[in-house]
Symmetry: C2
Subunit: 506 residues, 2 copies
């Protein structure tokens, strides 16, 4: 009875924190979609104030006592064994966040929020104008504050370890390096063999694809996937993202490039994959602290799954291509579905991460991982970032970006203080491949289901094995339970090898 | 020095309250523009929580001590005479709000916010489906809570007196009745004489006006008026409104009726008039408690000014009609500018308030004033509202609405708990006419300026005499200082008489 009371009180506290967090998400969504430019300073104050309030709620000293009353301690993160499994998972999440956030002074939290909000607006402008120097002071300040945060969290090897924890619980810089080394080698080898086959012609190049038709097609696909528009919406931003203003308000954004018919579609499918995860939490955990991805890596596995496994497959295009042709009759006249599918899977080293094919994508991540780690440690000065980017791009991709907008200004992450996030994208690919392998043992060929438009069977498997839990289980538990093995890069490289051997006749 | 410290501390408190209030406005704006339908329950919780937080800030007991330290008391609302005039106006606003809001229990404030958020969503649906019974329980609950609030505020004559104070400081139900009696008589008489001239043909009737062109035209006009899109934006909602998410983020909404070329334009101009007021506060008072209209009546005077005085004038149409004809060449072919101007000023008793002409408009207000007062006192049961609406409509307008969507469900106000607001619209007409008269003594004929597109001179007068102050002065002070006399209905009826005598050859 006393335990029940403690649990209820704890949920009251965390639900109120979720409420504030969801309002902050709303402000941030608005800032990137509809906010007039002149509102930015006040918006930064709003965000900073609410972030401070959220921090207060998360470090509410009552939490310590309530956790203790429920048998939770650093040695026993799941608390009293008599509690239901879901509540024990919840307690682990609460303690972890409480212990972590109590290490940060409130002034750092609000200052970071303010600088992030301003930095993001400055990034949008700097990117549009290709003006890295204008963004430099923001990035310098963000890194300073990130370093300070890392110091507060504490770390044994590198400050990067302290930050990556926010995105992939338990991961370290050294581990990521270990995972990335064979991945880099495998990708470089595969890309080399693909390129030896010569450049593949793209029948979609050099044409104009009006945004309105692109949007109609993207919307059709995202709804077919199972994305619920009564609990979400699609808008346009400089950088596509998914956010939730509550578990019943999961919004995605995309951007339309009129010279590229696939960019917006793949972005939308990617973000809808994230959104399906957030819309798929068990109703009982919605709008509380379990209502979140197990990790950003697991989150990225969901977006990658829909983007790469589903929307880049031949059966997908056999199903949807006639519709696309109907929307773009002149542009696609004379282009067969196999040609189009091959065009959707052209492997080619290119400058923009979000438009990269699934093979070279990992190289973009390795580049960012190396640079952000160096920026954070101070080994790389912000002023030297463009040159370092050019050098890494040369090494990994074989060319230098033609300007900063296409180079170190292309991604939103650092402007938002998200240092340590990028590896999640690569981990997502590994989780994704491993989930696919396990899923097919249970429900048969995913490509066959996609060809029949039976997305429901796929979504059900993901809901049952991944979405449903939210943060109740650790990523390692989810992958082990769903696939029978710990995470490995084995499936990812194997799948790539198989797919591209066939596509390129290697 | 001690005073300066107290003043700074007080501004810190009120600015933080403004910050929370502006976030609530953002949630409410989002709810009416872009929020997915499934998000409503959580949105109501967000709004309710933040409204409770705002209430806490407004009733912060420190305020009482700070006001006392600054020499403020109910007998001396402006505080220490050595303080600058602006600060003294600020102190009056702070004390008034503090004394008023401390009378409400926090539970009532949060409950009201929740019911308003849900009630508004229920209203949108009920209106769409013409389903008054579905809305009834919400309206009943809102009225119950409004009655409770009135009891907390206290009143000597009617609960209505306690609520109208929120919109028109110092006004009472009895005063409004007194103002409305000659207004009703004057309008009814004028309408009678106009109708005796026979029904005027409307060359715009029975045609289709695509929304895209309507929007282009409305945007052109609102920008010409001086509305700053870097500090605002225009969106579409079921019911047009203006809101601010901060003094540099003043947003307006409109709606496009494809069978009516003028409805959206006049709505947009009306809301842009409100927005010019909010964008026109002195930069020094922005984002604090002085950054608000002197009263809703004064606010409405600004919207009415641009809608009726400017956008319904012949010089306005001489200037803009060629552009409108360019957007709608087939619809307007053969329609001369004088015909169009007469169509824009047709006086005709019609069912929808926001589409009413400026003569019959007041009758819609009188109807609502009477009914909301009866609803609040309990003399009229919610279940009997449709019948009472029909009876009043018959009496004042000469017909019954064909359904509730066109009757008692047409306005958003009651669903948001805004009982006591409607008289502001009529007071706005009186302020507007009186301002016009004073303005012309200073800057010459407004119609001449409009004809030359010199909106700047008009806006400057309004900025200097009205906008600039925000809430620093009472409405009675503003009108006296700007026009040399207290508010009267004399100018309003006189202006109407002159304008329509000419238009209808009375």
């Amino acid at each position: 009875m006393e335990q029940q009371k403690a649990l209820t009180r704890l949920h009251d506290i965390t639900r109120e924190a979720s409420l504030v967090a969801s309002v902050i998400s709303g402000l941030s969504w608005d800032q990137e979609t509809y906010m007039p430019s002149g509102a930015i300073d006040w918006r930064a104050e709003q965000t900073s104030y609410l972030t401070g309030l959220l921090h207060e709620k998360v470090v509410n000293p009552d939490i310590a006592g309530l956790l203790a009353a429920l048998g939770v301690s650093p040695e026993n993160p799941l608390g009293d064994p008599s509690l239901p499994a879901r509540e024990r998972g919840y307690l682990r999440v609460v303690q972890r966040r409480y212990l972590r956030e109590t290490k940060l002074p409130a002034s750092l939290v609000t200052e970071l929020a303010k600088v992030q909000s301003l930095g993001q607006a400055a990034w949008v402008e700097a990117r549009t104008k290709n003006d890295f120097p204008a963004f430099m002071p923001f990035l310098e300040r963000i890194l300073e504050l990130d370093r300070e945060a890392a110091k507060c969290y504490g770390y044994s090897k590198s400050p990067y370890d302290a930050l990556i924890e926010d995105y992939e619980v338990g991961a370290t810089e050294a581990q990521i390096k270990e995972i990335f080394a064979p991945m880099e080698a495998g990708i470089v080898d595969l890309v080399g063999r693909i390129e030896a086959k010569g450049k593949r012609a793209n029948p979609c190049e050099g044409k104009k694809w009006p945004a309105a038709q692109q949007e109609a097609f993207s919307r059709r696909v995202m709804v077919d996937m199972g994305y619920d528009l009564a609990r979400g919406r699609l808008d346009i931003t400089a950088h596509p993202f998914t956010t939730n203003l509550g578990s019943d308000d999961v919004r995605i954004t995309t951007r339309y490039l009129e010279d590229n018919v696939l960019s917006a579609l793949f972005s939308t499918v990617h973000e809808a994959g994230h959104a399906l995860y957030e819309q798929g939490f068990d109703p009982e955990i919605r709008n509380d602290w379990l209502a979140d991805g197990a990790s950003m890596g697991v989150h990225e596995s969901q977006s990658r799954f829909w983007e790469n496994v589903v929307a880049r497959s031949l059966p997908f295009w056999r199903r949807y291509y006639p519709e696309l042709q109907g929307l773009f009759p002149s542009q696609l006249s004379g282009v067969g579905v196999e040609d189009f599918h091959r065009a959707a899977n052209i492997v080619e080293r290119s400058p923009i991460r979000v438009e990269a094919d699934e093979v070279t994508y990992g190289l973009h991540i390795i580049l960012r991982f190396k640079l952000e780690s160096a920026l954070l440690s101070g080994d790389l000065a912000v002023a030297d970032l463009p040159a370092a980017w050019a050098a890494e791009s040369q090494r990994l991709l074989g060319f230098k970006p033609k300007n900063d907008a296409q180079g170190c200004l292309q991604d939103v992450h650092w402007s938002m203080g998200l240092v340590g996030y990028f590896p999640s994208y690569a981990l997502g690919n590994l989780y994704c491949a491993q989930f696919l392998n396990a899923m097919e043992k249970e429900i048969g060929s995913v490509e066959t289901l996609v060809g029949k438009g039976e997305f429901g069977a796929i979504l059900s498997w993901l809901r049952k094995n991944v979405h449903h839990f939210g943060k109740e289980k650790l990523p390692s538990e989810i992958v082990l339970q769903a696939t029978g093995e710990p995470l490995s890069s084995h499936y990812f490289l194997g799948n790539l090898e198989r797919k591209y051997t066939e596509l390129y006749g290697l």
